[in-house]
Symmetry: C5
Subunit: 366 residues, 5 copies
């Protein structure tokens, strides 16, 4: 019974295959959830700077940010947490088209870039690797680049990602401070794309673990994990591929918002995102060859079992037949009254299999 | 016998695989059924509006709509139900090319866009998800955008889809009322594309259920369902892919019928349809990995059965041989007259398998 | 022996797999058979018309057609059956380039379009579905469109395909009669492309039948048929894909032979051929998922057999062991002299399998 | 033992799988063997002609060909056998760039076309089908087209391929004689491309034979042959695909070396090479479906064996159990002293399997 | 037990599948390791030359190289070993953009080409085939081509690759000495690309060995090696594909740094890298067909085992049944008291299998 349970166990870990994640991946509807529930707390910060001077402020109301417009300094307004009314007010004041404002408050948008009314708009996802669920999570980030401002929107106030930029901003005469808003926008995209590599590295670690497991055990558990990571690769590719077009679009946009000398930096990010995309293709190839490996391993084991069965069946054959022969109840059976008959019979039962094994081995059967 | 029937059952649900659906998918002939049977009842409604004023009317005869032409207000004429004569009359009066009129009355057309004689013409399919048959159903919609009118044709009077637009039209000074017919056309395409996401969401629900079933049972029933949804994905892709080109064509058309400020909205719909297309690719990927999962599960079960057979065969081996040995009718068989002989023999019959199990387990055989 | 024969039968229907068809598909050499054998009988018909007036004539000699050149009326010369000398004469007189004349008399040409010396030349294949052999057959048609003439060449006089056009030509003031040779050329292409849908519909019927067979039986016969129709799909695609480029080439050609108002009609044919091409891709997808279904079905059946073997093996195990135990010839075997011993032993032989079945069922083993 | 050998035989034909060919395919290094060993014998022929007059000469030394330059007649110099010094001298005199000269003496070059310093240079491979080894062999041909000359280089003096062209050159006023060197160059490419079809036809014959073998036997031998021809298709595609670009490049080159009227002929070759490329894709499709067929056949046979095993196992079951029951040594066994007991038992041993067969058959089990 | 161990052995070589390599392939993060550890020893060499005169020097400090700038001679500065400070100083002095300097000191960069501020910059990898680990190793090389200088950076001082170029430089009036820095840059790229072929040849050797192994043994070891080389092919392709774009980019760049006459040489390298890319595709095809071969071989062996089992099972059947029949303890068993009964029974036990074998063979069963 415990043996039976042990087999049953093979059927249990299927519960590992979460259909929940499939649903998340398949229902990326940018429309159905157009209006997200407004968050309770919104954190608005503003950085107003030139090379020598930096004002940083935490704003209570969205209207407080309006003063920074058109003051000939570079302004970065960061909004953590989306409230529809706030976004619309801000968009109206800074000349961001209403459709873009709608994109900012929508969820599950495909990464995209737009150049409308002197505002260069990027919407893309920051990726995180959730170590507990082994899932790639995403956080939507909208960046609006204007003549002398950058406005950024993030969903979750807890997950602010721009701290490295804040650190650099605090340094007087740093490159970031010397350059205009286009360089600030570049720094953000660079930070996000660099993070993709970090997520892929984490994912690579996990895939390596799965490979090790496949090699060692190849049971249902590893099948479940292969299946799981195939789904995560879909999420990864879905986020990286359009970002490639997005940054390529910026490079080709010939927007007046981008200085000639900053363009090189965007090209550098473009190189990185292309590499990330190539790498995600490599991940897919490795994943496929891992699945092939899994199937081959399973087949190999089955073949092993078949071989053992075949050999046991063959070795059993002579013993069964000899036992049957001398177990018959005929009156006249040769050697049956012979003193050594039994030992001869048992000897044959042993010798024939040994000879068979020898022959099999000689022919490289096993 | 009941056991046998239980196995037979595995062969029965194959009747689930409907070949009927295959036929529907394969025979999308726009020519053979060029002339559809005229419907009995046609519902014609007209909306004639500017920002401040709206006339809505239910028309009895197609000729009643002719008055709205050229009155400097935006006119929307919606025809639910296709009668060849009506379509031709309407087309002739409003300057829609005869070939387009033919497209309107044809069935199973590939979604397409055309810009002929100052009329921008779109033909595409509204999709519905039939919850009962789990099929993606389609309803052909033709939209003709002229200088100051939009004329729409739908097949089935029961399935009118433009109610949300009607609601917005009733509101004075709504954006829809302030803008011209190009914005009305955009609203329609937006409504249709948004609906694609809704259908995909429903389909995603079903696919998730199939995945759960595959994980839990992996029987023929789940195979039948995988097969079914693969076909539905063909229908989905067939409808979405050409619509992407269609809307892309409108954006690039440089038609004078589209105001500069409306173009942004069409671009927005274009973003949505690209996302829908990407998503349908993801569906396909998920479907393929589900089929792989199914096959792997089936193989795994077979391996389980093989293992049990191998183990039973191995455990049976010593008992059979020992029984055979001491069942032989030789006169001289050692221990046969011994009082404990039987118990030793039976003991060996039990001990050898136990020892074998121990060895197998030690080597991680099962 | 009859049983054995029954198994053998599974190996017989392989003769269904015709290698003959493979040869036909693989040897599409336009060069080796450059010069076809001249047909014995050639049927030449000429239609010389304008909107009000139609001369139709059956010509005996190819030279009789020379008079129609340059008479300011539209002339259609149709040649059923290819004789090299005739084609060369006709080509020389009507200014068709010698290379095109060579194409006309070649066989197995890839569909193509050419615009040489004021002649727009199309070569493509009419498709037929042979109901007996279930094969897609092809008949090469060459169309040469000049300033005021259309000359068509077909191989087989029996298989003339242009009767619907002849019917329309006979109607005075019909659209076909009012328009010039470009519209006549359009009508021919439209007729041919429409026929592709008809052939695909027939093929779709057969594929549906195969699917039904795969679902019901999944034997070698269905494998042979899947294999057969995969080859037919190669023929189909090979004919449709280049025709798409052909008609696309006409639409983009900016040839002076095509009036502006006729171009719309060619665009319409272009839409149709794109749809035919999409549909042929769908056919391929359906075919692949059918092959997957076949393989899965075959696997499923094998699994069934394996399960039955496993169960019989398991049920046999206790009976064999018990029979072996009490069949041994020891002097002292407990219960052997007991009156009910036999019944207890046989009872165990029955009870243990019943209990095993019960346990297997409880765990969902079968 | 002979039986065992018979199985071993299945493992023998693996020696059919030549790894030698794999090496040939994989080591196509244009660099490592840059300098080929000079051949011992070089055959140089020159044809100097215009429409009315032809000088043909067999030249002893490469310098003898220098006189033909710039004599206003078309000159064709053909070099069979490559000697590095000769090629360099010739190239220097006729203004062929040093890099092209290096290409001529290199081996395993990818087919390519170049237009340098008023010389149009083509390097491609003539293909041969070796009937004995069933391999596609290649012979590198370089063609340099200048203002009034064509120089060709071939590797193996034994394998000269241009005899049909020589024959045509001997005819006064033939098209080839009337036209310039561009037409001569076209004739060569046409000859080479036509030969591709011939090689494919041979290959098609062999593939058809393999298919027949797969259908009839599906043993390791056919697997080896499928594997072999898959490699040959790689060779085929590797030669045809770049030639398509090569000839397309000539057509688009707008080189002054090509007369307008000759361009049509190059377009015709282009059509042929496209068809050859399409056809090679079809070969691949046929090959893949053949491999599928092989696998399915092998599976089917295994299923047959499994079925027989299952049936024998089932039929053996009751006989074994009944024999075991009445072979036990209990004192009291019912019917054991009955006169007909034995016959009843044996009768049951026969009747139960018969009844089982009947039931199996009724359920369509075999 | 030794037998069991022999089977276990099949599971051991799985340790061949190194997951270590997977990690190397998957973590190609150009960002995370942005700042490499400075090497201890840096070897700087400078070659300053024109056609007649060559100064070569080993420099101690990076500053010593500054003198060569702008002296109207061609200068090649080669830096073996990367120290961030050195690279930055050199870049600043020679006008190499700061972003490019960052690329030089980064690791795991994707091969790329850039044309910034009158410097043409190439970053690519030299490939080595490690004969011991059978891995493709890479060494990053950066080449900066300026108006009169070429600066190269390599990682590992041990692995300097440019010796052939140094040899040519020492020859007065050699082509390399006569030409400018663009020709020097070409020579380097040519050397690197030629080396790719060398690596592929080594890899081809190994793949051929694997194929031989697959054909002869098809055990887990060969599976491990197929898996291993699939990964190496990923590395190969990842390095070759972007280099194709890189060199194509140089050819199309219209940079003033490239003389017209040198462009032809770059085109020649471009041809080579395209061929290398094609060849790497062929490698992939061969690899896939080898994996198919492996799977088919494994299946074939399993089928052999199944067949042997089926035959042994069938041959065992009559002997078992006959032995069971005459082993029953009925009082009345016909022939049991007959003198020849035993021999008849044993004779049947032998004759029936022989007859079965004969029948099986007649039907081509084995």
């Amino acid at each position: 019974m415990t043996r039976a349970r042990r087999y049953i166990r093979y059927l249990v870990p299927f519960s590992l295959f979460g259909t929940h994640r499939t649903r998340q991946i398949l229902t990326a509807n940018p429309v159905a959830e157009l209006k997200r529930k407004d968050v309770e707390k919104v954190a608005i910060t503003a950085y107003d700077y030139n090379a020598n001077n930096l004002n940083s402020a935490i704003l209570d109301r969205i209207e407080d940010s309006f003063q920074f417009k058109g003051n000939n300094r570079t302004t970065w307004i960061n909004v953590d947490g989306i409230r529809v009314a706030d976004v619309e007010k801000l968009a109206a004041h800074f000349g961001i088209h209403a459709l873009l404002a709608e994109d900012i408050v929508s969820m599950n948008q495909r990464p995209k870039m737009d150049d409308v009314d002197d505002v260069l708009f990027c919407l893309l996802n920051m990726l995180y690797f959730n170590e507990k669920s082994n899932c790639v999570e995403q956080e939507q980030i909208s960046i609006a680049l204007g003549k002398d401002f950058v406005i950024t929107f993030q969903e979750d106030p807890q997950k602010d990602v721009f701290n490295p930029i804040r650190d650099k901003l605090r340094i007087n005469n740093s490159k970031l401070r010397q350059r205009g808003p286009d360089y600030l926008c570049y720094s953000m995209l660079d930070l996000i794309v660099d993070n993709y590599f970090y997520v892929m590295e984490k994912l690579g670690d996990r895939i390596e673990q799965v490979e090790e497991e496949v090699i060692r055990k190849s049971n249902t558990h590893s099948l479940a994990r292969i299946n799981h990571f195939r789904k995560e690769l879909i999420v990864l590719k879905r986020n990286i591929a359009p970002v490639r077009d997005l940054i390529g679009g910026i490079v080709r946009s010939e927007s007046e918002l981008l200085e000639e000398r900053t363009l090189k930096y965007f090209k550098d990010v473009h190189d990185h995102i292309i590499q990330a995309h190539d790498l995600s293709e490599n991940y897919r190839d490795v994943m496929i060859s891992m699945q092939d490996l899994y199937i081959n391993n399973v087949n190999l084991r089955m073949n092993e079992v078949m071989k053992v069965m075949a050999i046991v069946t063959c070795l059993l054959a002579p013993a069964t037949v000899i036992g049957g022969i001398f177990g018959m109840n005929f009156d006249v059976i040769p050697t049956i009254h012979n003193e050594w008959g039994f030992f001869i019979a048992v000897g044959l039962m042993l010798l024939i299999p040994v000879w068979m094994l020898f022959m099999f081995k000689k022919r490289g059967w096993f």
